[in-house]
Amino acid sequence: MATKSQRQAYGEALVELGKENKNIVALEADLGKSTMSILFQQQFPERYFEMGIAEANMASTAAGLALTGKIPFINSFAVFATGRCYDQLRQTIAIAGLNVNICGSSAGLSDFGDGSTHQSVEDMATMRVIPGMTVLVPVDAIETRKMVRAMAAHPGPCYIRINRNDLPFFTDEESEFEIGKLYPVREGGDVIVFANGVMVSKAVEAAEALAGEGISVKVVNVSTVKPLDKQAVIAMAKGFRAVVTAEEHSVIGGLGSAIAEALSEIKDIPLAIVGIEDRFGTSATNYDELLVYYGLTADAVKARIKKIIGKE
């Protein structure tokens, strides 16, 4: 399967956008070669601010830029972009509803070697809980590009969660992306899986395997975790025997929680959440090894689907 890195796509999209709109500015905290904001720096050095290893200052500076009509994108690893400047994002940016866009790069477990300090298992939760914050989790490089564009056009703050490694494509140039919409990637009738990021591919793999066992599984790419269209989630889930969610994130507060919140308004649909069981990350030799270690595999999704419909 063809793959491409989201971070490369992110950097390229920022450049494209910068060409069209002179108000786009980028701020970086000494990780530009990883986040790929460096591509923007090469094209638009005067609109690029290397803010040093000082993320909190970077975030509030972006607020100031937004207040003069600029459209800032701040860049760092997801752990630092969300954790290190949480208060700045909350107090200065989100309360005011400023158009500051946050790129959380090397998110999830994708920075496999660096271990717990560099792996973000909780960023979807911490960003999702901030009122007014849009939370985007691209499934592939193409969707990443469309999201960058949507973020700039969206008036309030947006967070995008970028994977460090190459991921397969699930969208193409023609497919639509709109903030807040749910995008089915596979049809089915027994169980519906809401997944995002790398877990979309795992869910599709699980669905394919289960088709051979007579279990029909629909997979939906929830690339906007927030705002989540609750009515759309309910409408989609109706008629299925069970709902399963899958995310490369803690089972607390992320996609699974968001879907559970939506489904709390209806009864009689069992729900299982596949994710990281309330643990920090750890170092490993490669990304796949970590996904296996934390149970973020097609097999794990498959097992949960079978369990929840009593076909173990």
């Binding site: 000494d30 990780l31 530009g32 070669k33 460096i38 290397e50 803010m51 040093g52 290893i53 000082a54 909190a56 200052n57 752990v79 630092f80 954790g83 290190r84 070697g113 660096d114 271990g115 717990s116 300090t117 560099h118 750890t282 170092s283 490993a284 030799t285 090894e289 970590l290 270690y293």
Partner: protein, 278 residues
């Protein structure tokens, strides 16, 4: 003044640390923070193999001196020192950053004997060190707390919050060491978010400042001894270093902030180190 024998001993230790970094903790194709680990080798060697009171057989020794690696990404040099000192078997080094390893990508006190705090998110080590130094002072312990900070890391505002706290509370059982290798992750500090000039900033925050060549063992020991005599305020040692020191292709090369060696480079690294052997 340190004796020539002490200096020779510590130079050999610094070489041993670099050996471990090149042969046991990275190697061909394995990404690691070679640059910032090698720039700190003499400082770390002087602390662990001469200056600090500590016991590898008893990492929790109550009156031990403490070492914190605020620039936690340079964990390799600390792992090398801990292994060399005998905190854990040297074989652990080969397993660094593998699944379940004792030696994680960044220092983790819950896994590794001899690690005093969890670091890796830059900018926090000096605050931790202040807290430790205050706690030890409350207990009437004579122990010192040493904390190694990167010069890129100095951009973090929290460093300066801690710097103010340390001088306000006259924390004189605390010694900060700045590894001034003049590079951060993406390139030269002076071309980016410039944290220079360094020394006057610390002086303005009420610290005693000592500038040294961070690869000169005699100078490091002299500065550490001088810090013992400074009372009523914290001391910072500004150590002028070379990122990637002793590994020719990595010296002053931002690509080896966190790079992987090719087979050819690995051979060069080994021969660079061999040339230093006496």
């Amino acid at each position: 003044m340190a004796s020539q024998a002490t200096i020779d001993h510590l130079e050999a230790k610094a070489l041993a640390l670099r050996d471990h970094i090149v042969n046991d903790l990275t190697g061909v194709g394995k990404v690691g923070h070679l640059g910032g680990s090698c720039s700190s080798a003499e400082i770390v060697a002087a602390l662990y193999f001469h200056k600090m009171k500590h016991d590898p057989q008893n990492p929790a020794l109550p009156d031990r001196d403490r070492f914190l690696l605020s620039k936690g990404h340079a964990a390799l040099v600390q792992y090398a020192a801990l292994a060399e000192a005998g905190y854990f078997p040297k074989e652990e080094m080969k397993k660094v950053k593998t699944l379940g390893a004792m030696l994680q990508g960044h220092p983790d006190m819950t896994r590794t004997p001899g690690i005093e705090a969890n670091t890796g998110s830059l900018g926090q080590g000096l605050s931790i060190a202040c807290g430790m130094a205050l706690g030890l002072r409350l207990d009437g312990q004579a122990s010192k707390v040493y904390v190694l900070i990167g010069d890129g890391e100095l951009a973090e505002g929290q460093i300066w919050e801690a710097a103010m706290a340390a001088s306000y509370y006259k924390i004189d059982n605390l010694v900060a060491i700045v590894d001034r290798n003049r590079l951060q992750a993406t390139g030269a500090i002076c071309d980016r978010f410039d944290t220079n000039p360094v020394t006057p900033k610390w002086a303005a925050f009420g610290w005693e400042t000592i500038e040294i060549d961070g690869h000169d063992i005699g100078a490091i020991l002299g500065a550490l001894d001088k810090a013992d005599r400074i009372k009523g305020k914290p001391t910072v040692i500004i150590a002028e270093t070379v990122k990637g020191k002793c590994i020719s292709f990595a010296e002053n090369n931002p690509a080896f902030h966190n790079g992987a060696m090719t087979p050819e480079q690995w051979e060069i690294a080994k021969s660079d180190l061999n040339k230093l052997r006496r």
